[in-house]
């Protein structure tokens, strides 16, 4: 589900960016592995992944970042594609069965750019990815 958005000009400091919500499945992780060419068994082989420190398959970090990028695309349009910046840290793994919510808010406008704090959380409220994102406004 992706909700359409208020326009960038309407986003002021403190404004929340309309969230993006995704239901993660092993099939979606497998589809991303095929598209991204990253067949690390940590993502695609639940039997292998079960024996690792993660105890099961986890999603590619770039898949979770794609959800954040979708949220920024919806909020900032071509400005995100033209001059967007993202600095992300992966905090916890996303797993099949998780409901992932990408959300964020505009911290401030500075030098013609919107500086945003964004993150992805799972259904238990755990932060999976935290990031600073910028787009021209």
């Amino acid at each position: 589900m992706t909700r359409q958005t208020e326009q960038p000009a309407a986003l002021q400091a403190g404004s929340e960016i309309p969230p993006v919500v995704k239901e993660l499945t092993q099939a979606k992780i497998d589809a991303y592995a095929r598209a991204g060419g990253d067949n690390n068994p940590l993502h695609t082989d639940p039997e292998f992944a079960a024996k690792t420190q993660f105890g099961g398959a986890i999603a590619h970090g770039m898949l979770v970042l794609a959800y954040l990028s979708q949220m920024m695309t919806a909020a900032f349009g071509q400005a995100w594609l033209s001059r967007g910046r993202l600095k992300a840290r992966f905090r916890a793994p996303a797993r099949p069965g998780d409901t992932i919510v990408a959300s964020g808010r505009l911290l401030r406008r500075e030098g013609g750019r919107a500086i945003c704090q964004v993150e992805c959380r799972n259904q238990r409220g755990e932060v999976l990815v935290s990031a600073e994102a910028e787009a021209p406004v």
Binding site: T2, Q4, V20, K22, K28, A31, Y32, R34, A35, G36, G37, D38, N40, P41, L42, F48, K51, T52, H60, G61, M62, L63, L65, A66, Y67, S69, Q70, M71, T73, A74, G77, Q78, W80, L81, S82, R83, G84, R85, L86, K87, A88, R89, F90
Partner: protein, 137 residues
């Protein structure tokens, strides 16, 4: 594929990788990440994270990720919108590398340019991976 990533030294330059944002691949990517936002901006635009994913995929043809590799962080800067059908080239190098307790910690810088050689995206990934993948589990 001759080498896995953890064996590469600091300063290693990956062979330049060229690729096309083909309609088929972009469709596969957009479906995999369920990107409903990009289509609202235009029929021929490519999600910026797709460019990152395809660049990494192209580079992984030269050095594979070992089983158990973990993506810790990602920085990206998008420099212009990209369209389906564009040809791009990606260059990457190992910007830093360290070892601790059987794991390698590496940062890899990525530069992507269009067919005219103009930069379209830059990035930096931080990854960690076991020095002995056989002992990951």
């Amino acid at each position: 594929m001759s080498v896995t990533l953890e064996k590469l030294p600091k300063g290693h330059q990956f062979p330049p990788a060229e690729f096309e944002l083909s309609p088929e691949w972009v469709s596969q990517y957009v479906a995999a990440v369920e990107d409903a936002a990009i289509g609202r901006l235009g029929d021929d635009l490519v999600p910026p994270m797709a460019v990152a994913a395809l660049s990494i995929r192209a580079l992984l043809d030269a050095a594979s990720l070992p089983p158990g590799a973990i993506h810790l962080g990602q920085e990206l800067a998008f420099l212009r919108p990209l369209s389906i059908g564009e040809r791009l080239s990606a260059r990457a190098r190992v910007a830093s590398r360290g070892e601790r307790q059987g794991w390698a910690l590496m940062s890899i810088e990525l530069d992507v340019a269009d067919g005219a050689g103009r930069p379209v995206m830059t990035g930096r990934a931080t990854v960690t991976m076991p020095l002995d993948p056989e002992r990951t589990a």
